[in-house]
């Protein structure tokens, strides 16, 4: 009997649903809006490398490409190495914040000729050793590498085997730190945190609980607007002082961050290519958008919209 009843109830429910449903908006009523963006731009395949600064560049470029040029933007979440691989196979059109990566440039630009340089993003990339602000304030001389050994014992952790700990981050970061420690005769051991997340969390804890932490970090970075880390000065960088990876004893160079596009995309005549090529902005610009995304938790698209609307002049210069 119960089953009988249930079947009946289900039937009634269906009937009810069909009747009440007739009032709703139908699928396809406004479908014209969706297919409006089919200009001459076509599809623009944009790689998204996994850090927030990159996401800021990409969000703004994607927003402009979509709204001003009418492109269909495909954003693809990929690590650098895989994104570069995609140039050759036509799966990726552009990488819009590249840090050095001379090995990849040699492989894909010089040897395979599947990628080309699309000029600087205007961002200056700083790599170096940083300490939390409280530490720089309490011991101002710590920002000079000559004094690091004096404090080495303070940086000891359970991981550093009796020496001071120098925390390094994600394996895809460019780093000379092991050679630096050796060649500058520092009483430190490089410990690999393994990810940017781990690095940021370490600095966040250190600032909050007044712990001793020194490690690898870089700018531009959204985290700087939460905790403005202080850079430790290493022996000054001079052209060629990092030529031999074993013998490096100088600071990192200032990187001109640049954009790489696939060779095919560069020749395609797509307005998206001109946009990528003309795109430049400053570290402050990027930090602003990155902060919208990471700290204010805005969706990348909303963050890009907010910045673009406030900086129309800059954007117009890219697409003129």
């Amino acid at each position: 009997m119960a089953r009988h009843f249930r079947a009946g109830a289900a039937g009634l429910a269906v009937l009810g649903l069909t009747l009440t449903a007739c009032g709703g908006a139908k699928v396809g009523d406004d479908s014209a809006a969706g297919s409006g963006s089919s200009g001459k731009c076509g599809t623009f395949n944009l790689a998204i490398n996994p850090w927030v600064g990159y996401e800021a560049n990409a969000a703004v470029l994607a927003y402009v490409a979509e709204h001003d040029l009418g492109c269909k933007v495909e954003q693809k979440d990929l690590k650098e190495e895989i994104a570069w691989q995609g140039f050759g196979t036509g799966e990726v059109d552009a990488v819009v914040e590249n840090w050095g990566h001379d090995d990849l440039k040699k492989k894909y630009i010089t040897d395979q000729k599947t990628a080309v340089d699309a000029g600087p993003t205007g961002n200056k990339g700083l790599i170096g050793w940083y300490v939390p602000p409280w530490l720089a304030k309490a011991h101002p001389d710590i920002t000079d590498w000559n004094n690091l050994n004096k404090y080495a014992s303070k940086f000891k952790t359970s991981e550093s085997g009796g020496k001071g700990q120098l925390l390094d981050g994600d394996p895809s970061f460019v780093t000379n730190d092991e050679a630096l420690v050796k060649n500058l005769k520092l009483d430190f051991k490089v410990v690999y945190a393994g990810s940017e997340t781990a690095l940021i969390q370490a600095y966040r804890n250190a600032e909050k609980n007044k712990q001793w932490v020194i490690g690898y970090f870089y700018e531009p970075q959204w985290f700087m607007s939460e905790v403005p880390l202080k850079k430790v000065s290493l022996p000054e960088y001079k052209e060629g002082c990092d030529a031999d990876a074993e013998k490096v004893a100088c600071d990192y160079p200032v990187y001109e961050l640049d954009k790489i596009v696939s060779a095919k995309f560069a020749k395609s005549g797509s307005p998206a290519y001109d946009l990528v090529k003309n795109f430049t902005w400053t570290n402050e610009d990027q930090n602003t958008v990155a902060k919208y995304i990471a700290v204010d938790k805005m969706a990348p698209e909303a963050a890009a919209k907010k910045w673009v609307e406030a900086n129309r002049g800059k954007v117009d210069a890219w697409i003129k």
Partner: protein
């Protein structure tokens, strides 16, 4: 990450065997004396030879093998567009799988050309899910499934969830297409089984990070690569369990069929397959679970869905959002698990039952089918039924609560956790790691082989010798020893937890019911979600990696031990009670010794699960092999080293699997 599921079938059998004979005890004692002897010799030699011949390799250094792997990788990449193997083989496979995934995605998650929304909207999907789970299972799981899927929408993650579901379903389909026939074959032929097993071990212990980059080389970036990566990882449980199911059909039944003149084909189709249906469905269940476990990893090569949300949230350390997406994965896993489990029970009971309401059921199936069809129609036609209504407010509430809890824990517990970490690291981990990494390689190798032989017999000893030799060949010996130290400590802690909680669960049905859902959730929740809170509590250290491994591995050990304890016959326990044993004595003198088989099995599974977390550990400061693998995935020139490190993890896994399995057989025999 679900390694060697077929082994979990064993505790019921080994657990109930009586430990006979004082003679055996004499042998065990002498064995532990030998083990102690080996350790003493090792310690003495270590004291003398410390720091010599340790085969250590700096982070950026490479061996010839690593360079060779790099060259192979590069030449594949360079020749990809001219090589016929690519043009006519890999590209074709890619095309087929791409078409499949795109089809499923357009059905439920992505708008196809010319439509603003997918073919079937949320109401239709919920309707189908409810209908299918009712038809395959029962109305209780149908209710759970409908509630679960609606919850996904309330979390504000409807589209992400459907992307994940589409990818999971496609990967499971592809995996089963190969896994079921292969499993049947392995079930019928011992030789095939012997050949297939090492490959399955390899597929399950090789860290997925290692083959993600090559896969994108073969199958390009996109859904095809993500699906294939997931299918490779998810197929082994189905193969193993299917083979096991065919094997467990009673000998007499097969003989009866033979005597009635059934051909091989008839015996297979009419006897073996129907009788093993239930277990095969469990294999499908395990494959689905394994596929879901790959969701976050596959996001690293642009697989859309919940994994992408988790990974993105991690970049800005947004614990709340990551947890919300992780919870959606857990919910989906629970729904799919319960539905397939119910389906396997139904497969068992439906067979041969001729009850009167079978007829009624048929009518109901049709009626419910009509309901589902109407819901699908509505969701195709009306926007309110196509797009999940509301803003996903539940999701932001969950995210906020998760953030608050983590912040509280970080603020209030970090002093305590740091003290605990330092005590354990300095007291146990560091000395042990020093012993392994600072002893000469031949000493550690000899000790491993000797221990393997004493604990597991000659064959296990021989396997250890081969594995040690190959480990040296990988060129990452020193890193392997560092990893070995952390994983051993993690396994010891897993076993401690396993014994305490497992015994408690085994002795009380109530505790079991209360704990089991959390254990399930801990196994399915993507580790990426709890990395940030753990980093806050324990810093970027090896210990953080150990804690993460425990969260993932302990549930398996606990469940196996609980089953083992429960399998101890009630009469034995009563007899012990009547002789005046107190609870402590019953546990230590009766229940644990009798569950010895389960304990060894739990060690085996615990260790292998811990090993599968090595790469995740590399992301939070464990260094060593885990870091090498991640580095190989991130940097071209370290690709070969990452591959070698992946192989080293497999070798460690194989070595311990063989030793503990052999030891388990001895304990059970």
């Amino acid at each position: 990450m679900t390694v060697a599921v077929h082994k979990t079938q064993r505790p019921e059998r080994t657990g109930s065997e009586e430990p006979p004979a004082p003679a055996r005890r004499a042998r065990t004692v002498s064995r532990s004396v030998i083990v102690a002897g080996i350790l003493v010799v090792w310690l003495v030699l270590f004291a003398v030879l410390r720091g010599k011949q340790t085969l250590s390799l700096a982070a950026a250094d490479l061996t010839d093998l690593h360079r060779w792997f790099n060259d192979v990788n590069d030449s594949i990449g360079a020749n990809r567009n001219s090589n016929p193997l690519f043009l006519y083989f890999f590209n074709e496979i890619r095309l087929v799988i791409d078409t499949l995934v795109t089809f499923v995605q357009e059905l439920i998650s992505q708008p196809p050309a010319g439509r603003p929304v997918p073919q079937i909207g949320w109401l239709g999907v919920v309707g189908i899910v409810g209908y299918v789970s009712w038809a395959l299972g029962n109305w209780r799981v149908a209710l759970l499934a409908v509630a679960g899927f609606t919850f996904l929408g309330l979390q504000g993650l409807w589209q992400e969830s459907m992307d994940t579901l589409a990818l999971t379903l496609s990967a499971v389909c592809v995996a089963l297409l190969f896994a079921l026939p292969l499993g049947v074959w392995a079930g019928l032929s011992d030789r095939v089984n012997r050949i297939v097993t090492p490959f399955l071990d390899f597929m399950q212990t090789m860290p997925t990070f290692v083959y993600l980059a090559p896969l994108t080389l073969f199958f390009l970036i996109g859904p095809a690569s993500a699906t294939i990566a997931t299918a490779i990882y998810a197929a082994p449980p189905a193969i193993r369990i299917t083979a096991h199911a065919i094997r467990s059909v009673p000998e007499t039944t097969v003989e009866a069929a033979d005597s009635m003149g059934a051909t091989r084909r008839q015996a297979l189709l009419k006897v073996l397959l129907p009788m093993s249906k239930r277990t095969v469905v469990m294999g499908v269940n395990q494959t689905i679970m394994a596929a879901l476990a790959m969701v976050t990893i596959a996001a690293l090569i642009n697989a859309p869905g919940l994994g992408a949300t988790v990974v993105q949230a991690l970049q800005s350390l947004d614990v709340g959002t990551a947890f919300n997406a992780g919870l959606a994965i857990v919910v989906m896993a629970i729904v799919l698990d319960r539905v397939t489990t119910a389906a396997s029970v139904r497969a068992d009971t439906a067979r041969g039952s001729d009850s009167p309401f079978l007829k009624w059921r048929r009518h109901l199936v049709v009626a419910q089918g009509v309901v589902a069809a109407v819901l699908v129609y509505l969701s195709r036609t009306y926007l309110w039924a196509a797009e999940f209504p509301g803003e996903g407010g539940t999701g932001s509430t969950i995210a906020k609560a998760a953030t608050d809890v983590t912040t509280w824990a970080q603020d209030n517990l970090s002093g305590l956790t740091n003290a605990f970490r330092d005590a354990l690291t300095n007291g146990l981990l560091n000395p042990f790691q020093t012993l392994l990494t600072d002893s000469p390689w031949w000493l550690v190798g000899a000790a491993l082989v000797a221990l393997g032989t004493v604990l597991g017999g000659w064959r296990a000893g021989a396997t250890s010798a081969v594995c040690v030799g190959l480990l040296i060949g990988t060129g990452v010996w020193s890193d392997a020893m560092t990893t070995l130290a952390s994983t051993t400590v993690a396994t010891v802690l897993v076993m401690l937890l396993g014994v305490v909680l497992g015994v408690w669960m085994g002795r009380s049905a109530l505790v079991d019911r209360l704990l089991r859902p959390s254990l399930d959730a801990a196994q399915v929740m993507p580790p990426f979600v709890y990395l940030v809170p753990f980093l806050a509590l324990f810093g970027a250290t090896r210990f953080t990696a150990i804690v993460a491994a425990i969260v993932y591995a302990a549930p398996v050990a606990i469940k196996i031990i609980a089953d083992g304890v429960r399998a101890v016959p009630g009469t034995t326990v009563e007899a012990a009670m009547s002789t005046g044993c107190n609870t402590w004595q019953i546990i230590t003198k009766v229940q644990l010794p009798m569950a010895r088989g389960a304990l060894t099995l739990a060690t085996n599974q615990g260790l292998i699960y811990v090993l599968s977390m090595v790469v995740v550990g590399g992301l939070v400061g464990a260094g060593a092999l885990g870091y090498d693998v991640v580095a190989g995935f991130s940097q071209g020139q370290l690709y070969g080293k990452g591959l070698a490190a992946g192989l080293a993890i497999v070798l460690l896994g194989v070595m311990f699997d063989r030793i503990t399995q052999a030891a388990a057989r001895r304990a059970g025999a």
